[in-house]
């Protein structure tokens, strides 16, 4: 008999259920190093084909499978079952509307990402070759460019839960990624958006985003950098 682990999975089908409920599944540990995603796949493929969840690359790059597992937001594909205390409670990312089971509606999250203009803005004429930067300037982008938009950070943030207008750690980290880029010339128009009650000033340094980020980034620090630049500009 192989070892089994209990998965307590959040279920909600808006067409059938009045209220969400939790369903227990016994996941069989068939090989060492099984990830939570392997367990979810086992449930969908062998026990209950109606379980809805997102996944794609299964190696922590696509950012599809951000889930709330045992109360902490993380990616199911890079989280070992053996690292978690059973029963493993799996919920959709907090505060976002549930589409079905573990699938949430990310429209609002993505709109906030687009709002900070997450692309290179330039006004000076392009040089003959590519726009160059020094290794030091490039180094400033480490810890910013790696964001995979899994929404783990933003949906772990109490300020994000409380204020539906708050841009959230992810969008702000991505704005910092371009504001601190030596090649970018759109800092002022981005500051106009993030220098707002629902922008950087809504961050109360609760630090949940740091714990949640599966890529080990530090959105709070990035927001702190932005605050510092804004305060220096103003005072």
């Amino acid at each position: 008999m192989a070892e089994k682990v209990t998965f307590k999975v959040f279920r909600f089908n808006p067409e059938k259920d009045k209220k969400p409920y939790y369903q227990d599944f016994e996941v069989e540990i068939r090989k060492p190093g099984m990830m939570v995603l392997d367990g979810l796949n086992q449930i969908r493929w062998e026990m209950d084909g109606t379980l809805a969840f997102r996944r794609s690359c299964r190696e922590g790059v696509c950012g599809s499978d951000g889930l709330n597992i045992n109360g902490v937001n993380m990616l199911s594909c890079i989280t070992h079952i053996s690292d978690l205390k059973p029963p493993i409670v799996i919920q959709p990312l907090p505060s976002l509307p549930v589409v079905k089971d573990l699938v949430v509606d990310l429209t609002d999250f993505m709109n906030k990402f687009f709002l900070v203009k997450p692309y290179l803005i330039t006004y000076s004429p392009p040089p003959d070759k590519e726009r160059l930067q020094t290794p030091e300037e490039r180094k400033k982008l480490d810890g910013l460019y790696e964001c995979i938009l899994c929404a783990c950070c933003s949906t772990s943030c109490p300020s994000y839960w409380a204020d539906p207008e708050y841009l959230g750690p992810s969008a702000l980290l991505n704005s910092a990624r371009f504001i601190l880029d030596s090649r970018d010339e759109g800092a002022d128009e981005r500051f106009e958006i993030i220098n707002d009650r629902h922008g950087v000033w809504r961050c109360h340094t609760i630090l949940n985003c740091i714990e949640a980020c599966p890529k080990l980034l530090n959105p709070t620090e990035a927001i702190g950098e932005l605050k510092k630049i804004l305060i220096k500009k103003k005072f």
Partner: protein, 119 residues
Amino acid sequence: MKYFGSGRSGAFDWFFQRVSGIVLLVTLFLHFYVMHFAIEGPITYEKVMVRLSSPGWKALDIVFLIFAVYHAVNGFKLIIDDYVHSTVLRAVTIGLLWVMGIAFLTIGIMTIVNLRVQS
């Protein structure tokens, strides 16, 4: 969308919450030092009141009071900003906050200004 009565970005609130916090921290340690180390024990009413009645200390106390009231009121304002989304309720709570802040400031300043050693 802007909330009721908030044309400002919040940068000032954020920055001066930190500034007033540092001022409070400094005055706290100053109080601790003066009360427990600089004074020759035992601490009596006379000794304390003589110090508190001097113009220099009154000025310092008023500065402390202003920063303390600002820090407290601004803190509540941030909590209201976070959790109260209804325009009417915001107007009422922030209005109450202003009334309370001004009341505390007035009572405090009156108390400090009128301090004298009573026999």
